[in-house]
Symmetry: C2
Subunit: 344 residues, 2 copies
């Protein structure tokens, strides 16, 4: 039974975006007994085909990939799982469409983790739209567990926190050409430096995750410093998501780095190295807490690509049950495992 006394039922989901991540999400949703009521794609090779085939499940699901989101959303759903792009500027129209149709949204789009300072206008508008339609917009992904709540839970054992510093490494090739493009993979070091010098560099998920951490601890941001540096190939590196070799001196990724000082004292830093992996590279998650006591947290087997999708799917009931509005990750409560079929 649900809290309002109605019997629990399965979840009606729209898969919004059928790229590399949407394909994994589709398989997980099928495993978890979700009722996939629609799928939205844009690539001409995918539109019109069955979602099961597009997602590589080796069987059909009786759900066609459609190009018109309005048509799909107008048929109704509990939630849209949106795996399309990485910044609110691009994604806000997709989110708005879902919210206007009374459909909750959970997304891997990183800025929505904590969009209030980097995209305040979009955040305020989407928050208002979600409230007006009685639905919730929230982001999740590996950062929800590994870079935010896993760390804040550990801090529950801290008497005094002076500094919290994380270091994560992830494989650009795990996320498809969209993300490789964001990171200038394949471009020259000079082209990257000129781009950053002239146009700046959008702060990636490190900043949003740390801001969510500071907010969830009830602390106040005093200053934020972010920087980026290129990771250059030393020898030719095959980039699978772009389908070609990256030559020496060209980018195989970036190191995004953010540090936040708070009015109250504690400092927070996160260094995210995203690059095309060579032999022996593996995702890592390592945090150090300086204070009383000093503590360390280390995860192996992180598999950020997979856990971004599995965390997102576990969040579906939380997002549907959350109060209406844009819920940044500091407001969504702890992530948790939901065993078996998803029910709401």
């Amino acid at each position: 039974m649900t809290t309002d006394g109605a019997p629990a039922r399965g979840v009606r989901v729209v898969v919004y975006g059928v790229g590399a991540m949407g394909a994994i999400v589709t398989r997980l949703l099928v495993d978890r007994g979700a009722d996939i009521v629609g799928a939205i794609g844009r690539s001409p090779e995918k539109v019109g085909r069955d979602l099961g085939e597009v997602a590589g499940l080796g069987r059909t699901l009786g759900v066609l990939v459609e190009a018109d989101p309005r048509l799909v959303l107008s048929r109704g759903a509990d939630i849209a799982v949106v795996c399309v792009g990485s910044y609110l500027d691009k994604m806000q129209s997709h989110f708005a469409l879902c919210l206007e149709h009374g459909v909750n949204v959970v997304t891997i789009e990183e800025e929505t983790v904590f969009p209030w300072t980097t995209a305040p206008d979009h955040a305020a508008a989407l928050d208002e739209l979600a409230r007006a339609n009685g639905v919730t917009l929230a982001a999740s992904g590996a950062q929800d567990v590994f870079w935010l709540n896993h760390v804040t839970t550990l801090l529950g054992a801290s008497h005094r926190v002076d500094r919290v510093a994380g270091r994560c490494v992830w494989n650009v090739d795990d996320y498809g050409p969209e993300v490789a493009g964001h990171l200038f993979v394949g471009q020259s070091g000079d082209a990257f430096a000129q781009h950053v010098a002239s146009k700046g560099w959008p702060e990636f998920v490190a900043r949003q995750t740390l801001e969510a951490m500071v907010a969830s601890l009830g602390l106040t941001v005093k200053s934020i410093k972010s920087d980026v540096e290129p990771v250059l190939a030393n020898s030719p590196v095959l980039c699978r998501s772009l389908g070609h070799e990256i030559q020496p001196g060209h980018l195989i990724g970036t190191i995004d780095w953010t540090e936040i000082a708070t009015e109250e004292g504690p400092q927070f830093a996160l260094e995210m190295k995203g690059c095309v992996y060579g032999e022996g590279d593996a995702d890592c998650n390592h945090w150090q807490v300086c204070g009383e006591p000093d503590m360390e947290l280390r995860n192996e087997g992180v598999s950020y690509r997979f856990t971004t999708c599995s965390t997102l799917v576990n969040r579906i009931p939380d997002v549907i049950r959350a109060r209406p509005g844009l819920m940044s990750l500091d407001k969504l409560g702890p992530p948790g495992y939901k065993h078996g079929a998803l029910r709401i």
Copy 2:
């Protein structure tokens, strides 16, 4: 401001138990600006002395250690921090006294982590008493972070959990003679074996923590297996808390082991090795998750003695704000760091 609109204020705390753990808690409470309104002890060497001296702070606090809990509790307090013993059978009268006086309780007593199956009568009676007096009884300590919520947060990234297995090592000498006595430290392997064969062995915190984990995941216990084996000294080992050397063939600790099978499938295991440390030994916390994906969690710098006290102190506002009753750890929400002075 608090949720009811009243301005936040400091916390009025009674330190109930001034042994090894109570002394650390006292120092942390002073650091966090708590208003210590009373201290309860039983040892004739401590009663009548100032709490600051008894706790080794090197200064007085203007709070005398008193022997009569009724007298101290009748003066009123928000919460009693109870660090006296390890089983509800012994502790329930202490808890009942606090609750009857309308004083919330947070305790390091391990059974209260999840007492519903190992001490159901005490648990039901204390739950009723707490509700009747509008206050909350809850246990915390290192297990709250490291063996429960740190693990359940990680599971938020699991698509499918088959088995969760933890391995922890802690130093008996960190907890004073009370705990060393529980673990038969200094007694012979034969005496221990005869005791276990004739009287059984009370399940320690491993079982309660795993049961809280199963409950917090919404799963159903199918069966519980627990076992204990002695850790014997190979050479003479100095036990600081007992003040003498343990001879070879005698116990320096135990390995407590619990495994829970659930109706739904996932299995949970925890092995806790508590022993008197020799050179180079250190607290460890290591968890493995088998399923999709396989994951690992490893903490260094755990310092269970200290983090039992620091976690307990961080829980004070949570326990005061919780709904009345006995709140086992599955019901208390995630632990979290509270920066600076404790406020409610």
